[in-house]
Amino acid sequence: MSYWYYEPSRPREVKNGLKARSKKGDIGTTWWSKKWIGLLESFNWSNRLERGRRYARKGQVINFRLLNGTIRANVQGSAPRPYEVEISIKPIRKKEWEGVINSISSQCLFVAKLLAGEMPEDIESAFSSAKTSLFPSKNEIRSRCSCPDSANPCKHIAAVHYILAEEFDRNPFMMFELRGMGKDGILTYFKGNVESSTQINETNVDSKGQTEEKLPPLENFIDNFWSPLKPLDGMEFSVKPPIVSAAVIKRLGEPPFWRISNTFIKDMEKRYERIGQMAISVALGSDRLGKTRKK
């Protein structure tokens, strides 16, 4: 690495880059992404990691995909063409995996969380009791970059590592995948014979719960054209705010693609409350919708 190379250069701006969502402080919010960053930091790559973090925050990582246990990413540096970065992690052997699965099965929490699509916090303990480790050691990580920088990791690789950390927040099973065991693979161990029950229910959101209606043609109603076909007299409505605000969002949790902030639930709660309040005042006829003008 030569001094003159990186000092004057500024990376080219990327329009829709994958920005690390944290603006300062640590990147990554969940325990496993933190653990991943901690791991990187323990490798003593210090100042290049720092530069990589800045890259990640600026959005220099253009894209990123995981295929067959290898991460491939394009990172925009100062050269016109983005650099190509590849990171792969040594998979755990099949035999070792069996040991891991046995030890996972011994704890209700692990199975319950994994079946519900979550990564238990101390899953590592299941690995260590099977004498292996979920997180790789320094020399189990292989990476390369098409940039002229001879150091490894370079800042481009480091940037991808950070983006990877955030990806763990969204998809905790990615580390399993990088270690050679896909989500589906691991779940089948616990699933027994009832595949269907854990399958994600792909219901059409709009139509669920409503009866399919087949009304006869309008002509049939010519003598009863103007009145309700069934009485609605007893129907009552209430405009009381809910006890828990943004309950729908709290039940759903953060959507998997969310990167902007780590405060999705809080941000949404603010919006739900505003909408609810506006709805109350409109429903009670006391809001004037000041902004509305005749077109």
């Binding site: 209700c108 705010p241 309950a247």
Partner: protein, 996 residues
Amino acid sequence: MIILHGLWLNKLKEPKFFIWGESSEENHKSPKHLFQAKQNKLEEILSSILEEFITLGFEKAKTSLLLPTQDKKPIPSSTLLNLNHESSSKKELKEWEIDGLNLDSIHAAMFLISATDSPDLILGEDIKFWQKFSKFGFELLVRQRFFPHLIQKGKAFSAAWKYLIDDADDIRRMNLFSESMPPICRSFKKSDQSKNILSSFLSELTDTLSKKSIAGLEENITGGSIDETWFRSLHSEEDMPVDMKETENLTKTLDQWVSSIYSDEANAFKLCFKLDAPSSNSDIWNLNYLLQATDDPSLMVPLDQVWKEKGKTLKIFNRIFDNPYEKLLIELGKASKLFPIIDRSLRMKMPSRCDLSVQEAYSFLSENSWLLKESGYGVLLPSLNQQSSNIGVKVELKQPKTSVQGNGLGSIVDFGWKVAMGNQELSEEEFMKIASLKTPLVKIRGQWIELKKEEIENTLKLFESFNGRITVRDALRIASGGDGILPLTSLKASSWINELIQGLSKKELLKELTPPSNFNGSLRPYQTKGFSWLYFLRKWGIGACLADDMGLGKTIQFISLLLKNYESSSKKPSLLICPTSIVGNWQKEIDKFSPSLKILVHHGTGRLSGKEFIKKASKYNLVISTYSLIQRDIETLEKVEWDTVCLDEAQNIKNFWTKQSQAARKLKANHKIALTGTPIENRLSELWSIMDFLNPDYLGGFTNFKKNYIAPIELYKDKEKIQKLQKMVHPFILRRLKTDKTIISDLPEKMEIKTYCNLTKEQATLYQAVVNDMIGEIDDSEGIERKGRVLAALTKLKQVCNHPALFLKDKSKIEARSGKLSRLEEMLEEIVEVEDKALIFTQFAEMGKMIKEYLQPKFCQEILFLHGGVPRKKRDEMIQRFQKDKIPQIFVLSLKAGGFGLNLTSANHVFHFDRWWNPAVENQATDRVFRIGQKKNVEVHKFISVGTLEEKIDSLIERKKSLTENIIGTGEAWLTEMNTSELKKIFELRKDAVVE
């Protein structure tokens, strides 16, 4: 008159709500719908009843609708339009081009909830349907049943808020709406399933309102990544500028994200969390896991029993549960996302419960349990805060040591308060300790209680602001339950304060007074009570509203009070304000029951003003004036210090912004009274206005009252608010119903009441002219000719008394020209409101027609009219409808066609709009109602125009009652036997006939 219709045009590129109307007037723009309301007219009427912010959203529009058609004409939606003609030709659906107005979803919903029937405008059933559906939409929004998503419109995408209907009751209501939708709502030419139309409206409303509410919050989100673009787009109507592929992926991800919300109810069992309060010496709460039968929540098994079972299926309570072990683990795993505390319990091999700290238990109680419940889990919570252990305040009111300031409701008294749990008082130390706790879940004296921190803070703040002193008005308000403060568990008061508060809150127990000695009549027991109550409130200067049902004698209760006042001490005059049409009635009643009272009728062009009036008024006990005059003479009237001011038919001041209502409020008096027979507890702006006249300030300002009470109660029947309001106004309103058991036993089965009405100026002028013409003619003639002329004069004068247009036969306007008709309308208002029914007899078919046409739009319902020309079949149909259906409530009959033979016992009011000077004929008509099958007490109202032949002939008959049968025979011919001077006396118009 216009009947309003509306529908959601979901097949338009930009869906709109289309409003149109049917008019009773023809619109000659053939080949269009003949009776459609003109756009301008529609806009004009709607603008007059709606606030500007809604009408700003109107856009003129045209659309084609399929409508029932016969003989090449659209068939009107309602018989109210008077356009129906009998035809047997084929009915078919035909397309008609309709002019109307378009609204977007929010404006439509706002318009729909605020639209009400008014004299010129009747809401069609379709509008009422949409009105309910808009409320449903608002409810979903208020309850935050929606989520962010994405919609595709052609090639463009935009982020959207979608409504969520996933709980059983919402699903039920949505289905009912879609099954109920009036066919007219599907009459847009590209007609669709009702479900799709409703869904489209709801989607638009949800998205538009949500985006409007949060517009501007997206300012900091500037990035161009897909999630940022999506999030930003949730705040505005703009499309998302992103490429197809990425957006399609986003749609899939969102679908998957949202799908987890729909719980899978196919299982026979679900996981249930049961929270138990700690046993006596502990602070550890227990959260127990149970298996609960989905179809019968009372069937539950603890999980530790389930874990013990072996095998792939579990059979309990005759229900089968497959793969229980695995399913329970999944459910526990999912639940741990919503309440992560339980993670620690999942370390065990067979988790069945979790210990919770007080903090954790509180968090479970206040939030997580709701999330679990909504996600389909069973939740059982301990019952804290039972009545016996409720935290509340005990208030004590004492007479101040120094002299009392203010009077009545404004009296300032000493105020002391203590916090109590159930009946036990808490020491200040205990309370302060509670108030400073971080967790609102506390153990007091061995009981766990969930405190509402806000309530405690609000209570402290409010009570400390009183600084140990309070007005009786505020004390009463607190007693009926303040907003967001601790409930009042007891109110103790000493000496006179106790007497006042007891009297106000338990008016049934008030001591009954003996009626004043110079009251010329007798009071029924409930009337004595009412008069005693009025007198009690008078002592404290507290305004009273006597709201007894019509016919229970509010007038004589007030007259007794006046007599009592003047018997005891009062020297100042009192003022009675009433509608012009019944000034005469009041004079008559006072003459009859208390001739000793000196009354002055303040009316007419020669009336006094300023000092002269004040001087003159002071010589009388009661000044009677009218609503139309208070506004004009307020400068004079407000200068008098009245003893009592009474508003009769107080609903006349219901619109507080009118000058009339403002003027009434300016009158100064020791005591104010309002008399009304309409159930004011159902008409809240009227209630506010009357209360504000009686006891200013008590209900607070109108804007707040509208927001806090009128809208929640009138639009959404908010039960808590109804109760609270009733509690608040209960001390000041006395309303007895004729149907009360205690009242009914006091009443005769048939009551005949003479209602004296005044003539309008126009009527008086016409009347005088007829008299002048006729007297000479009669004088000049003899024999049969004379008889004929007398009868003709009689008829003409009766016609004038009924209505000028009946006499003039010129089809001129009907409104505000006849004292009788105004009075009839007022009285019918009360009858219609309490869901009674009435017959109206008149001997003039033309009058019957006028009554029908005038009242129909006023009451927004069809009014039946039976006259000689109605064919038998139609007559039977009318009678059947009137007897069976809730509506129509009013039946006009010509005396000849309906005076005998018919059975109309569903009515319990009979009006004789004009008189047939023959009691036998009148009674026979009355007996249509008063006969076997009648379940209610019957009231017969005989209308008499004051100061005219009607009054004079009536008293003639009264005087010779015993002889009448003989004198009168069966007709009115006996009148023709009188000599000219006798006739002159009878025909002559007395001065007091008109009050204007």
